[in-house]
């Protein structure tokens, strides 16, 4: 394997992944705005490498209950993509689509979150596909509502095979009229043998 994840800070590779993050997140915001037919502002996504222990802190600590929506990536490159929200952001996101009576992860909320996650991750992956000319698609979503540490162990373990860091793409969407804010985190997790395919398709030689 010619790929060294931990040396990325000083290389062009992190910039490339950051750019993929920016464009993917921009497309995801546009899709969200179309879906709810409201104006959505998006803060510039923050792409960073974090230590394992820092990641759950972003979501209120390892025991804080959060929502993770997970997809497998299939096609020319393989891996997975996960979208994680804390409870408040998850409820705000569903409320944008359709106001609900109780703040709970009931059946409606869970299926709405799966559907929104599907559209966000789908537009992210389609922009990645457009940039790289790789034929890729996402699986049906799997959703889990549980402790942040437990949900984030999934990307941490995948990245852990390469590194002591996790790459995280932080996105904030703000619905302009009601100023409802949704803070979401994407984890793009290529399988080990797909890093070369992904970066090679963007002209980065390892």
């Amino acid at each position: 394997m010619g790929f060294e994840f931990d040396n990325m800070n000083n290389t062009i590779i992190l910039d490339v992944l950051r750019e993929i993050g920016n464009i993917g997140a921009g497309n995801a915001a546009t899709s969200l705005a179309k879906m709810i037919d409201k104006k959505i502002d998006m803060k510039v996504p923050v792409v960073k490498l974090l230590d394992f222990d820092q990641v759950p802190e972003l979501l209120g600590g390892p025991e804080n209950v959060v929502c993770g929506i997970f997809f497998k990536i299939e096609g020319d490159m393989t891996g997975s993509i996960m979208f994680v929200l804390d409870q408040k952001s998850a409820f705000n996101l569903v409320d944008l689509l359709m106001p609900r009576e109780n703040a709970d992860f009931d059946e409606f909320t869970v299926s709405a979150l799966k559907e929104i996650g599907n559209i966000l991750a789908g537009s992210y992956i389609s922009s990645l596909s457009g940039l790289t000319n790789l034929k890729i698609k996402i699986s049906i979503p799997a959703l889990s509502i549980d402790m942040a540490g437990a949900i984030l162990s999934v990307p941490a373990i995948h990245f852990g095979q390469l590194s002591d860091n996790v790459m995280i793409i932080q996105n904030e969407f703000i619905e302009v009229l009601e100023a409802k804010s949704v803070d979401g985190y994407f984890f793009l997790i290529p399988d080990l043998d797909s890093y070369e395919i992904l970066l090679g398709s963007l002209g980065v030689t390892l």
Partner: protein, 161 residues
């Protein structure tokens, strides 16, 4: 006064009586708890992967089941514990997301738990309690006073093993 010492992800810690150990929000990782009832020396590791062998970046011994268990035994013996008296309790190894068509990378929790059992068996350390698998996260607390392991979940209650 006893202190509750926190063990992070890919981390391990050893304490003496009366201190206790905890790790928060275990998912597919496995918490390995070792105890010597005579000296009350207590150890905990929070491992992420089964084996350091196929991984090039493997300096952090606490990240892998094989190297973490060796290091834990070593540190506990330095505090006066004896390996022949050790008993183990393990928890975690969940599968947080499931799909109908499973590939190996999704079953990492199961593989972690399996590797831990195998290594402990080879080391001759009996497993007194095993709370692994399922699709939910766990916070664990391990007490040097009596080797009790408390397992907390989000929505599935608290139990003692």
């Amino acid at each position: 006064m006893s202190t509750m010492v926190k063990v992070g992800m890919a981390d391990l810690k050893v304490v003496s009586h009366p201190d206790a150990l905890t790790t928060l929000g275990l998912g597919s990782c496995v918490g390995i708890c070792l105890y010597d009832a005579t000296t009350k020396v207590t150890g905990m590791a929070h491992i992420m992967l089964p084996s350091s062998k196929a991984i090039r970046k493997n300096e952090n011994v606490a990240k892998f089941a094989d190297t973490a268990i060796v290091e834990l035994i070593d540190q506990m013996e330095k505090l006066g514990a004896r390996k022949s008296r050790f008993v183990a309790k393990i928890a975690g190894g969940a599968q947080m997301f499931s799909f109908t068509s499973q590939n190996d990378s999704m079953k990492i929790g199961e593989r972690n738990a399996e590797a831990v059992r195998e290594i402990l068996k080879n080391m001759g350390i009996p497993i007194k309690a095993d709370d692994t698998g399922g699709n939910f996260g766990r916070t664990i607390e391990f007490y040097s006073e009596n080797g009790k392991l408390i397992i907390k979940t989000a929505g599935k209650g608290i139990k003692e093993i």
